[in-house]
């Protein structure tokens, strides 16, 4: 039972982060904090990917004499791309939040909904 936790600790961490992130996205009223939640959520996936690339006793995948076992570099490369995507998403999201703040004078979701209901 313990080994399930200790051996797979990387997965537990990523699951924990994922849930924390999703919870923030769903629960928070503040649009900005939602984006932070989204980032945590995405980061958990990055950790998941990177941890699966790890090979026991493997080193960084650099060719050098004396090293035979390497970690799998492909997940790193994939995640590098995913990180860039996540940066872009965050940038777009932040830009939206800033604009929302400009036009609604608030970034609180329930307040915005109240304003929209008033309009309708």
């Amino acid at each position: 039972m313990m080994s399930l936790i200790t051996d797979l600790y990387a997965y537990w961490i990523s699951v924990l982060l994922m849930m924390v992130g999703l919870y923030i996205v769903i629960d928070h009223n503040n649009l900005f904090k939602k984006l932070i939640g989204l980032n945590i959520f995405q980061t958990s996936v990055f950790i998941l990917f990177i941890s699966m690339g790890k090979v026991d006793q493997g080193t960084a995948p650099i060719l050098k004499e004396g090293f035979e076992t390497f970690s799998n570099p492909l997940p790193h490369v994939l995640i590098l791309t995913a990180i860039v995507v996540s940066i872009a998403t965050t940038a777009v999201g932040l830009a939206l939040v800033v604009s929302i703040n400009k036009y609604y004078k608030t970034i609180n979701e329930s307040e915005i909904q109240a304003i929209e209901r008033e309009e309708a």
């Binding site: 996205v25 989204l38 997940p75 995507v85 872009a88 939206l96 939040v97 929209e116």
Partner: protein, 489 residues
């Protein structure tokens, strides 16, 4: 030489054009450039369809790296079918949309708008062309990110909230797909779709594959806006700039549907998805609820763009219903509906673009008597509405015929549900038609600016296409049949 590189050119032409476009100084020049580019992608997709007919399947290895190592582009009848659809819609939309874009979007942002449009096109085409699971994710995000930006350019401030909601939901969806890819990669060590499929019998029993399947399912349903994950779609379609609504409504959910075919048929395989894991049992009730609920909600909308958005949700329900039947005929029906509905919905949103251009609103009340001031647009809407209802001789009828026939093979009560719900479309379409034709125009409404000829011509092009495919449907039916026979052997 071009023929050899068509799969790559299909994607890289708009990709290269995007940065060039953002360097262009003048709005009109940017439009011309973008339109030319989208027409060239259309030409290439025509070439691809022709090649697929001639040789069957086209493979293209990026950088000459052989398949499981490198990224392979793989064009078969299914991808060619969707590619030609996307590029055709993009071309027609852009051709007609210049005036409405100039009216709705700040002049300083035009170049960026066209850049984002091209990136969105790149993303959508890329998803369809590539055969690499991770590449799919990247293109998915390219198209989504540019879509968020495009939606946020809407005139109403609600567009910002709509884009934000879509961003949150879309990112969660895409990330779920990424987790799915990760879990599959963990078990197989490959990202090539066919390679993944080949190893499925060996790894099919693993829990992580099942978990990956679940993540894929939720992620794709989110992108597809299938009930109950559809919340982002109505607002996004309603508040986006008119030209963007046209393009999105006609293509974005269609590409998500393509992804569904690819993931569940090509990667997981028909047996695994539908016999081992019962995807059909999940899709069937969701589709039926989506059809009934969205049609009912559509009836009570006070904004016509929103009405059409809900109608899109119902149509997506029909498409997934076809998939959930687990038969070849169901899949064919789903694909034919995908193709036909893209033109019909594109045409209808194009009509709304004309109306929005003329009277600056698409609210139901303001539609009163618009047939008197905009007879061509109103007539186009009527024809498009008839196609949406599914009456002959329009493309909608063909879709309905195939769907009901496919459903009849499975169960007769389901066929009755499908037919009765399609009658709901009569109500929401005819509500608008009556408002347009049989009401006196409101006094306080200005008669509106005349709609430019180009916009009307492009609207009618789409309308006539959706009628044409009702009269001569050999092309979509043949493509869909080929694709379905490939996916369900």
């Amino acid at each position: 030489m071009i023929l050899m590189h068509t799969p790559a050119l299909q994607v890289i032409i708009p990709l290269i054009a995007a940065p060039l476009c953002c360097l262009l100084p003048k709005s009109r020049l940017a439009w011309l450039f973008t339109t030319l580019v989208s027409f060239s992608t259309f030409a290439i997709s025509v070439l691809l369809v022709w090649q697929v007919h001639a040789v069957g399947v086209i493979d293209y290895e990026m950088g000459n790296w052989p398949a499981p190592l490198g990224i392979k582009y793989h064009i078969d009848s299914l991808s060619a079918f969707i590619l030609i659809l996307i590029s055709a819609i993009a071309s027609i939309t852009l051709l007609g949309a210049r005036s409405i874009i100039e009216q709705e979007i700040l002049h300083s942002k035009h170049a960026l708008f066209y850049t984002a449009f091209l990136l969105c096109l790149t993303g959508l085409l890329g998803i369809v062309a590539t055969n690499d699971a991770f590449n799919v994710f990247v293109f998915l995000e390219i198209s989504s990110l540019s879509t968020y930006a495009l939606i946020a350019m809407g005139r109403n401030r609600k567009a910002l909230m709509a884009a934000y909601e879509y961003l949150i939901m879309g990112t969660i969806g895409a990330t779920f797909i990424l987790i799915g890819i990760g879990l599959l990669y963990m078990q197989t060590g490959t990202l090539n779709m066919f390679d993944l499929h080949d190893r499925m019998p060996i790894i099919g029993g693993f829990n992580s594959v099942h978990a990956g399947f679940a993540f894929f399912t939720v992620g794709i349903f989110l992108k597809l806006a299938l009930f109950p994950l559809h919340q982002w779609l109505p607002n996004a379609y309603t508040f986006a700039p008119s030209a963007v609504s046209v393009f999105l409504a006609a293509t974005s959910t269609k590409v998500a549907l393509y992804l569904l075919y690819r993931v569940f048929y090509t990667i997981f395989g028909f047996e695994f998805s539908f016999s081992t894991l019962h995807l059909g049992a999940v899709l069937l009730p969701l589709s039926i609820v989506a059809i009934i609920l969205s049609s009912l909600i559509a009836i009570f909308q006070s904004d016509i763009k929103r009405l059409l958005a809900y109608s899109s949700l119902a149509q997506i329900g029909y498409m997934t219903l076809g998939v959930s039947l687990q038969t070849q005929s169901g899949l064919i029906a789903s694909m034919i509906n995908l193709f036909n509905h893209a033109f019909i919905k594109g045409a209808l949103f194009m009509c709304l673009a004309c109306i929005a251009y003329s009277i600056k609103t698409t609210r139901f009340n303001h539609m009163a008597g618009i047939a008197k001031t905009q007879p061509w647009v109103a007539a186009a809407f009527v024809v498009g509405g008839i196609a949406l209802i599914g009456l002959p001789p329009t493309a909608g009828f063909i879709s309905k015929w195939y769907i009901v026939l496919a459903v009849l093979e499975t169960s007769w009560w389901l066929a009755i549900v499908v037919v009765l719900t399609s009658l709901l479309a009569v109500i929401y379409v005819w509500r608008v038609v009556e408002q347009m034709y049989l009401r006196e125009p409101l006094d306080n409404i200005q008669y509106g600016t005349p709609v430019p000829m180009m916009l009307i011509i492009c609207t009618w092009t789409m309308i006539l296409l959706s009628v044409y495919f009702g009269i001569d449907n050999r092309f979509p039916v043949r493509m869909a049949t080929m694709a379905a026979e490939m996916l369900i052997p």
